[in-house]
């Protein structure tokens, strides 16, 4: 029996994507974003402004001087970094529900998502790719489908795991077999409802590289690789563990050898420590509610 109709029905109750984050996503598409445009988007949201100041002053950026104003933060960090902070602050609300199908810890999915976003950032630096906020955002949102699918995975977990163990397929493929829909497709559907930019939506849909279309954009390959590396790093692993497929052609595509991967994991260990401030965004109940005002 397919659960697809039931799963799709549950999308009717999908909360709206936070306004400020939505407007910020549109800015991702523009080749140049002026500081003034970004200020216009965030200035009426005190919670996001507070987050910007908190994160700007955190160990993650390691700035020597203390930042007191939005303008100053924008000048010192640049628009790309600011876009990341605004989107991360705005998105927390979507991750606030527990996802027990995947994580026993309430914040498990948020922590995994932030880790993946940071890993995309790090890969961009390692591979000398332009460090663009789009990559960070795609990393942050890649598993958003789990928010909705969790309920169904929870009901059918043993059947899904049995398929993983007996057929040796990935957890995502097993979701598809048992539920009729997997978390990547689900995320793509949500991205469509939220009017995400196309590149971002496709990165969510194809982040496990299960369709040929996945290979059309490096962004998708980056998100895929970041996800795999974060799983290897461990820490915020879910019930799906490391049950995803490693594709060597992606390593060849980026000219990465195993030693490079080891170095990246080493770097990530330090970056992860310094980025705890991002994990903490979830803790502020007040900030989350305000972020939705727009």
């Amino acid at each position: 029996m397919s659960l697809v109709p039931q799963v799709l029905r549950s999308l009717k109750n999908l909360p709206p994507f936070p306004m400020v984050a939505q407007r910020t996503l549109l800015l991702l598409n523009k080749p140049e974003v002026s500081i003034q445009e970004l200020v216009e988007v965030v200035k009426f949201d005190p919670a996001i402004t507070a987050n910007i100041l908190r994160i700007s002053n955190s160990a993650y950026f390691g700035l020597r001087r203390e930042i007191h104003s939005l303008q100053q933060a924008l000048l010192l960090l640049g628009t790309q970094e600011l876009l990341k902070i605004v989107i991360a602050s705005g998105a927390t609300r979507l991750f606030s529900a527990p996802t027990p199908g995947y994580f026993s810890e309430r914040q498990g999915l948020w922590r995994h998502s932030v880790s993946c976003a940071l890993m995309v950032d790090l890969l961009c630096r390692e591979l000398s790719l332009p460090d663009h906020a789009t990559g960070f955002t795609a990393g942050l949102m890649h598993d958003i489908g789990k928010v909705v699918l969790s309920l169904f995975v929870e009901q059918k977990f043993h059947e899904i795991m049995e398929v993983v163990e007996q057929q040796g397929v990935s957890f995502q493929a097993a979701e598809k077999i048992i539920l009729g829909v997997d978390h990547a497709e689900m995320g793509g559907e949500m991205a469509r409802m939220w009017d995400f930019p196309d590149r971002l939506r496709l990165a969510i849909t194809y982040h496990h590289l299960d369709k040929p279309e996945a290979y059309t954009d490096d962004l998708i390959l980056l998100v895929y690789l970041a996800d795999i590396l974060v799983l290897m790093f461990g820490q915020d692993l879910g019930s799906d563990g490391l049950a995803y497929t490693g594709y060597p052609e992606v390593l060849r595509h980026f000219h990465l050898r195993e030693r490079n991967l080891q170095k990246i994991l080493l770097e990530f260990g330090s970056a992860w420590g310094e980025a705890q401030i991002f994990f903490g965004l979830m803790g502020q109940k007040d900030g989350i509610q305000r972020a939705n005002r727009g």
């Binding site: 799983l231 461990g234 490391l242 497929t245 490693g246 080891q262 994991l265 080493l266 260990g269």
Partner: protein, 161 residues
Amino acid sequence: MQVVVGVADMRISKQSEQVVITHALGSCIGVAIYDPLVKVGGLLHFMLPDSSLDVEKSRENPCMFADTGIPRLFRECYRLGAVKHRMQVKVAGGSQVLGGPEHFNIGRRNYAALRKIFLKNNVLIDNEDVGGVKARTMYLEIATGRVWVKIIGQNQTIKAL
């Protein structure tokens, strides 16, 4: 009382009320050693096989690598009175993503590095739970030396080592 060991980290203890724990091992490996006579135990969570990758980082934090972390783990336990031939040695982690064995195999390499160090030093592994695609959390109870892993998943399966 729980004492948490982070990534690339270790804790040594002889305090009987403590349970030393390391969360969600992926490709990383957790090594728990324990001397039942003096009730001294240690848990190491290392990330990568070989310190030649970054010697400077390995000096800053030897726990990152198997070849620098494992000797350190034993030495620290000896300082608290543990003796090598009495040590119980348990190992968990080293998971791998799916696909061929030729790539993304840091988990296997971590395990291989550990085995090589143990063989060279005549250390036997008493019990282990390694490999596969599972995420594991590892526990060491200082009062008894009991070691167990929790497989992260819906039932949170517990396996004694």
